[in-house]
């Protein structure tokens, strides 16, 4: 297969775009496309300060690399979850994130959950008895809470995460199977800021997972290849595989599912959120907005562990 730009040997083939590129042109194409989507979805402007949540994985480190290359003011945030499970998962992902930052002279904020709250994610999950043996629900709550806290306390305009199209489509698929209208309404490339909540953006939401892995490999980014041990057997991985089987037979199916969903929403698929969907109160302990009238989910979890 030949590169569409230069006719040289292609190393990446994107059947959904009928586009094959050589390594050099692919490495140029990805940042170009990212810049296009940042503008298309009104994610942020050149003068805004961006905080990227980095996990040491291929997506978040590539996102940091891309935004830095595009000239944005972008710092990183690494959350130490305290996941070891005999393979030192958190230590290794921290090491790779720190190495990435120092090699490029970038600023990385590090928040260690255990140092901050007296218990790691697996410990918090165990003590609060949420998630039936899997700490993922506690982990999700904690990540959202801490990312938002740091973004606001440090004065960032926007919080960026490395979600790729496969991540988005797996969530979309799960929420469609359950017809979770509330969750479907909120699934967007951009969540605008509101009282106490930072703006959240997903600049990689139009790239396939395979494309992001190709970018990280070709760019020579050292990322953590091992999975978080708790992700083994998760439904999101199951749905991703299912959707890849579909994609294999019908190139472009994943992209169309996502893009058409966003379009359908814009054209009124759901009734727009009403006033009362926005009624949030401040958590009496941490001050972050919550939909209930007591402590937010994160403070409840930390409270049970204390």
């Amino acid at each position: 297969m030949k590169c569409k730009t230069c006719g040289g040997k292609a190393t990446v083939n994107m059947r959904q775009h009928k586009l094959a590129l050589c390594s050099t042109h692919y490495l140029g194409w990805v940042p170009e496309q990212t810049a296009r989507f940042i503008k298309k979805y009104w994610m942020f402007g050149p003068d805004e300060r961006v905080l990227v949540a980095v996990s040491g994985g291929k997506d978040s480190l590539s996102l940091w690399d891309i935004l830095h290359r595009l000239g944005y003011q972008v710092d990183g945030l690494y959350l130490g979850l305290g996941i070891d499970e005999g393979i030192g998962y958190s230590d290794e992902s921290h090491r790779l994130s720190a190495k990435f930052a120092s090699e490029r002279g970038l600023k990385l904020h590090v928040v260690d959950i255990e140092k901050e709250y007296g218990a790691s994610i697996p410990m918090l999950a165990e003590k609060s008895r949420r998630g039936h043996g899997r700490p993922c629900s506690v982990c999700g709550v904690a990540k959202r809470h801490e990312m938002n806290r740091i973004a606001r306390d440090m004065g960032y305009d926007v919080l960026a995460t490395g979600h790729n199209l496969d991540d988005e489509v797996a969530v979309l698929f799960a929420n469609t199977l359950a017809w979770s209208a509330d969750l479907l309404r909120r699934q967007e490339p951009v969540l605008r800021e509101s009282d106490g909540l930072a703006r959240k953006v997903k600049p990689l939401c139009r790239f396939y997972e395979k494309e992001m892995a190709a970018y990280a490999l070709l760019r020579g980014i050292e990322y953590i290849y091992e999975e978080c041990p708790f992700s083994v057997g998760s439904t999101s991985i199951y749905y991703k595989e299912l959707l890849n089987r579909l994609e294999n037979e019908r190139p472009g199916a994943k992209l169309a599912f996502y893009v058409k969903f966003l379009e359908a929403k814009k054209n009124g698929l759901f009734t727009p959120p009403t006033e009362k969907d926005f009624i949030l109160t401040a958590c009496p302990k941490c001050g972050q907005p919550t939909s209930g009238d007591g402590l937010c989910s994160f403070c409840k979890i930390v409270g049970k562990a204390g």
């Binding site: 292609a10 291929k58 496969d166 997972e209 395979k210 708790f230 294999n248």
Partner: protein, 63 residues
């Protein structure tokens, strides 16, 4: 023979097939892996030769 490795799984296929046919043979979805031979990424139409060693990099992650 052609050797393919995915995480700690090893597979062997006959030489002379394309990467795509080789992946079908061993039951790995092309969409879920990137194939690397001698440090270079290769595409599905690449013909694999006797003695080739192909590393399959899993691309799916997430919890």
């Amino acid at each position: 023979m052609v050797k393919l490795t995915l995480r700690n799984q090893q597979y062997e296929v006959k030489p002379g097939m394309t990467l795509l046919s080789s992946l079908e043979k061993i039951g790995v979805l092309p969409e879920s892996v990137i194939a690397v031979r001698n440090g270079e990424m290769i595409l599905e139409d690449e013909i694999l030769k006797d003695g080739d060693e192909v590393k399959l990099v899993a691309v799916i992650s997430g919890g």
